[in-house]
Symmetry: C2
Subunit: 169 residues, 2 copies
DNA sequence: AAAATTTATGTTATTATATAACATAATCTT
DNA sequence: AAGATTATGTTATATAATAACATAAATTTT
């Protein structure tokens, strides 16, 4: 069974786009991937993923916890959200942004891919990116230094073009 | 006034080397850089930097706090160590490893440079690296995506060649 | 379908990491 | 020496994450 191709472009996150469609696609893909992996996308896990996908801004675990609590009127404790996050990370449906202690939806969860982000300090948006030449370069560098990579985290913090433009208005 | 050139090689951290010399060089450079910057490398800051340089393994703030307490028999509170770390980060004398919440000495503090590390899961050593082609690639990617970089963090977690070799002994 | 097993979630407590706010001390400037 | 600045001490608290055990739901076995 082949995995679905991601229809989500890489760098659209900070631009005007149909975010309802964005969420819908992400949720559909998530379901497909979980089915493919024999994993259970439970109500709680689906709910957390949907909350993460409300924006392209990484969200902290405690922010998600509060949002969960609001949606359900019952009390939600940290392990509840952390376990959901752990599951979503394992399935490759979200990424953890280390510089922010925060979590964001993966824009191409079906591909085996790196964990590379542009993070705008001003609007808070994190844009996932990946180019073959960068990955080749990383892999070659590791090889040259005798290092085998298990996990990769590239986080570039700065200012996206939209914010740059609006600051000069 | 020109800054001193770094005599520390990039990828020697996990190899056999004269670590006493390593520390000595780091401390001398630190003093020079602080003088150059008109910053005060106080006793406490110097002590923290020296502790960080005891190994090439990133150390957490609370581990450093315990080491400080041991050296001085007086109680040491978190802000003491965090303020020293903040200073050392500002001066470019150490880096923060985001995937580990830990801090490590910078091997070429006098150069304007990126924050790129190979982190071995097995021995705990973090090796700073930087190649022009990788940096060019990063910069070009950011330019293509309309993003201006303020801070860069590349952390590759995996296994270094020494550990790889010793696991097959 | 009931029992056994596995997986997921709830719950309480605790650990780990980091900062705020204010007091005191040391250093620098004049 | 007085005043200003910078650094450190001190107490309290914020923020992020996990451990340990109980309950509930789903899946598998019989």
């Amino acid at each position: 069974m082949a995995l679905p191709k991601s229809p989500l472009p890489t760098s659209i996150a900070s631009q005007q786009h149909d975010h309802t469609q964005c969420i819908a696609t992400a949720m559909t893909q998530a379901q497909e991937i979980c089915t493919h992996n024999g994993a259970r996308l439970t109500r709680l896990r689906e709910q957390v993923l949907r909350l993460i996908w409300q924006s392209h801004k990484p969200l902290g675990a405690y922010a998600l916890m509060d949002m969960l609590a609001q949606e359900s009127t019952r009390r939600v404790a940290p392990p509840t959200v952390y376990r959901a996050l752990e599951f979503l990370l394992e399935q490759g449906l979200i990424h953890r942004i280390n510089t922010l202690n925060a979590y964001i939806g993966c824009t191409h969860p079906s591909a085996h891919h790196a964990n590379n982000f542009l993070i705008c300090e001003h609007c808070g948006v994190a844009i996932e990116f990946s180019t073959q030449s960068l990955q080749d370069n990383i892999n070659q560098t590791a090889r040259d230094l005798g290092f085998s990579i298990k996990a990769q985290s590239i986080e570039l913090v700065g200012c996206c073009d939209r914010c740059e433009a609006s600051r000069h208005d």
